[in-house]
């Protein structure tokens, strides 16, 4: 099979700390083919991409490019071998021009090795690359900072092409693009495949997968599920193959004694630069799950409620009274709590102690309550089963689960009315996850309203009283508790609107 394939990877295996994230995967790409790679979060897609890109070294497995075995330990080596990658996080220098970014590290020189950098050639080659992709209107000398996200992505693609790539991997290339920008991406991909470049296309959006891909490989929990021609699959089947795993997660039962109360947090037509026309209601004692793809605006919605982004349109009310929050400080004053998804950067001061971290919010917003909060804190922390030598330990030395519990303690100290949770169990162990779920139930018993964003579908389904699904910055719809993963995914990807979802 190697004759007709431009890239053949066999037995690709990678584990981190004894935890196998990808086991024994085989993948083969033909020239000019768009190969879809799908799977849920944590299925091993990005691990595979990073191994092919030279970011990770595989534990086992071989990679053949054009029939020759390659092994590399640095992205540049992978690129020289013909495998380029457009990551979701762009590798661009914002203050440099398009040409300088594309040729970074291999600037062409005049008169041999010690000659000056040939800026004219850099410019010419860049224009040529962009024209070759069918892109007009981007000039080689434009600063990358002044480009839109879509344009920056084009620069990344042009850079990939400039290595004379035989294989280009694209990780969620449309996550940040508007609809009409996606079309341009399609046309660029078409040109590339026309030249015989193979594309490994990772996306959650099933419509795109079916629009573009000839072959689809499905991963699940680090295992290869199937590789099939696209025409043999329907969206419904694909979703089933992606999700169909035994449900091993466990969630505490919904307490019977909690009655859902009056509306606590109400949004009516809320919109700004990131979300639009969002109307929703979270009642006292209710957990509402907020599902959606990466980049669908879930985090931005929570941030808008909390005052990080101002509300430009529509209104928010709390317990029936209008709520105007234009900074996080005002959000806290209104007793909203926001558990961020980025615990290390935004949730904690890593080199401060557990005690200082857990008192951080009270101290800065309700200084007069610091004393009582300090007296209660040891009890709160031990109630959350925080495992630490002492309260003076720096939080950077705690495990992810214990760090998350400190974040929770920090926010419980303000007696919140509404808790906004963004990926509350990301990167924490099973035991801590369970404690977080229990805590959410305890909060509802006290009449707190919980709005939870999560990319883990079992978690959204297992914990929520209702599920709201976001797509492209708007609410796509609402699903009742206990809906199937297929239904949520279909709504989040827009497959439902095509009418052939499972």
């Amino acid at each position: 099979m190697t004759d007709t394939h431009v890239l053949v990877a066999t037995g690709m295996t990678k584990s981190f700390f004894g935890n196998t994230v990808l086991a024994d995967l085989d993948l083969a790409l033909r020239p000019g083919e768009v190969h879809g790679l799908v799977g849920e979060n944590g299925a091993g897609k990005s691990t595979l991409m990073k191994m092919l890109a030279g970011v990770y070294t595989p534990d086992r497995g071989t990679i053949l490019v054009n029939g020759e075995q390659v092994s590399y330990s640095h992205p540049v080596q992978a690129q020289r071998a013909g495998v380029s990658t457009v990551f979701q996080e762009f590798n661009l220098l914002l203050e440099r021009t398009i040409a300088e970014n594309i040729w970074l590290g291999r600037e062409p020189r005049r008169f041999g090795r010690f000659g000056p950098v040939d800026t004219a050639r850099m410019r010419r080659d860049t224009e040529e690359l962009l024209t070759g992709l069918g892109v007009e209107g981007l000039r080689a000398g434009t600063l990358v900072r002044s480009l839109s996200v879509a344009e920056q992505q084009i620069v990344e693609i042009a850079k990939a092409v400039s290595f004379d790539a035989k294989v280009i991997q694209m990780d969620e290339p449309t996550a940040a693009l508007a609809d009409h920008e996606v079309e341009l991406l399609y046309s660029i991909i078409e040109r590339l495949t026309g030249r015989g470049v193979a594309i490994l296309y990772v996306s959650h959006r099933l419509k795109e997968i079916f629009d573009l891909c000839r072959t689809i490989t499905i991963l699940k929990d680090g295992q290869h599920v199937a590789t099939r021609p696209a025409e043999d699959l329907t969206e419904g089947e694909l979703v089933r193959l992606m999700v169909g795993r035994p449900l091993t997660q466990y969630f505490p039962d919904k307490p019977v004694d909690v009655a859902v109360g009056a509306p606590r947090l109400t949004l009516a037509g809320v919109g700004n630069g990131y979300v639009d026309g969002v109307s929703l209601e979270v009642r006292a004692g209710e957990i509402v799950g907020l599902a959606g793809l990466q980049g669908s605006g879930r985090t931005e919605l929570l941030e808008t409620v909390f005052g990080v982004h101002p509300v430009a349109r529509g209104s928010v009310s709390l317990d029936g009274a209008p709520l105007e929050v234009s900074s996080p400080r005002q959000g806290v004053r209104a007793r909203l709590a926001f558990i961020t998804e980025d615990r290390k950067a935004k949730g904690l001061a890593l080199n401060q102690s557990i005690l200082d971290n857990s008192l951080g919010v009270v101290r800065s917003v309700f200084p007069r309550r610091t004393g009582s909060a300090r007296r209660e804190m040891p009890g709160v922390l031990s109630n959350l089963d925080v495992a630490a030598h002492s309260l003076d330990q720096e939080v950077q030395f705690l495990s992810g689960g214990n760090q998350q519990k400190v974040v929770l303690a920090r926010w419980l100290s303000i007696d919140p009315l509404v808790v906004l949770m963004d990926e509350p169990t990301r990167g924490i162990d099973v035991g801590a996850k369970h404690r977080v779920y229990e805590l959410m139930r305890e909060l509802t018993r006290q009449g707190v309203a919980v709005l939870m964003v999560s990319s883990e579908l079992p978690e959204v389904i297992g914990m929520s009283d209702r599920i709201l699904v976001m797509r492209d910055g708007r609410l796509a719809g609402e699903l009742p508790a206990g809906s199937s993963e297929e239904a949520v995914l279909a709504m989040a990807t827009g497959a439902a609107s095509e009418g052939d979802a499972a």
Partner: protein
């Protein structure tokens, strides 16, 4: 896609799209701005000097301003490189002092000793820069701390081994310090211009120059692109110390003797950083130019000159300098940095109207 041909794009869309893109003029921004400010400062100074009954553009005054620019200018070029690469050099004043002492001690007032003395001085300075470059790039010590430490070591060495002036400059060197073109342009200033030109060309036309910007802009991106990140850091520190040494020689040509405190009295560490920032270079690195820095140095020199003519008291002088720096940085900081462009609203490059427009189009017309 906003900036490419699109089957449904009308000329109106193209116009709107172009309008939504920052203008090229705004890209020129900092360098053009700094020279515009310089022209304003010169005009204001000329007026103020005239009010005092003197001529700003007199031969002697121009000579004075340009002389004042040369030493700080040379040091600031080096500081620009170090800041561009994401580091900082606080050791320059001590390196300047050391250079005057080593050179003066080596010359002993004899022309025959000049080549050896100059060579020794510059090699020593380059070595000091090499040490800092290695500390910053290989041991990951921040430039602030690395140069502070090295600066203190040099300063301690100077204080223990030299009391008062030392050695003597060779007559030829002293002559050079007084020479110039037509009594208006001092040789020292010509040296500054030549250095500016060379460093600008190096930044623009060598790989190391390109990589200097890359490492300062984002070290990880540079590394992922296959750049050896240590090389530009070390080069920037070596060149910076070398230029500080050259500045020391320049001072020696004027004073005639080596002085252990001449650098710290000149406050070249903070003034050079201020000139670099005033010239539009990002203190975090990755963006800026030597030409801008020279503009910043010129602004300081002109303001100092006019305050000298007006016999402003020293405290007020520092007050004005401080004000200039803070205002300049406040102006630069106003260029907002948007990390994640909004999906809805007019800030976004406009989606197309018509049947293909995404769901975002209705809101785009609303003022948000």
């Amino acid at each position: 896609m906003s900036s490419t041909t699109h089957p449904h794009e009308t000329p109106e869309d193209v116009r709107r799209r172009r309008a939504s893109r920052p203008k090229a003029a705004r890209q020129l921004g900092s360098t053009a701005l700094i020279y515009l400010v310089l022209v304003g400062v010169v005009v204001a100074s000329a007026v103020l000097t005239a009010v005092e009954g003197r001529n700003f553009f007199s031969q002697g005054n121009i000579w004075g301003v340009l002389t004042a620019m040369s030493v700080l200018g040379l040091i600031s070029i080096g500081q620009t490189l170090v800041i561009l690469v994401g580091s900082l050099d606080l050791s320059v004043p001590y390196v300047v002092s050391l250079a005057t002492l080593i050179a003066a001690g080596g010359m002993k007032g004899l022309d025959a000793n000049v080549p050896a003395a100059v060579f020794n001085t510059l090699v020593l300075c380059a070595l000091i820069g090499l040490v800092m470059g290695l500390l910053v790039s290989l041991l990951d010590v921040h430039g602030f701390i690395a140069s502070l430490g090295v600066g203190l070591i040099v300063s301690g060495y100077l204080a223990t081994n030299y009391q008062g002036s030392h050695g003597a400059a060779a007559p030829d060197v002293r002559l050079l310090g007084r020479s110039g073109i037509a009594g208006i342009i001092p040789t020292a200033f010509i040296i500054l211009l030549v250095c500016t030109l060379i460093v600008t060309l190096l930044l623009r036309y060598t790989r190391i120059g390109h990589h200097l910007y890359a490492v300062g802009g984002n070290r990880e991106v540079a590394r992922m692109s296959g750049v050896r990140t240590a090389v530009p850091v070390i080069a920037a520190h070596v060149v910076c110390s070398l230029l500080a040494g050259l500045a020391g020689l320049m001072l020696l040509s004027r004073t005639g003797v080596g002085l252990p405190t001449i650098g710290s009295q000149g406050r070249y560490d903070l003034l050079s950083i201020a000139a670099v920032v005033l010239g539009g270079t990002l203190l975090a690195g990755g963006k800026g130019s030597v030409i801008g820095t020279i503009g910043g140095v010129a602004i300081f020199a002109v303001i100092d000159n006019v305050m000298g003519v007006m016999q402003v008291n020293p405290f007020l002088k520092d007050f004005v300098r401080g004000l200039v720096i803070v205002l300049a940085v406040a102006v630069y900081a106003r260029r907002s940095v948007v990390s994640r462009p909004p999906r809805f609203g007019p800030d976004r490059v406009l989606p197309l109207p018509g049947p293909l427009a995404g769901p975002a189009s209705p809101t785009d017309k609303e003022p948000a």
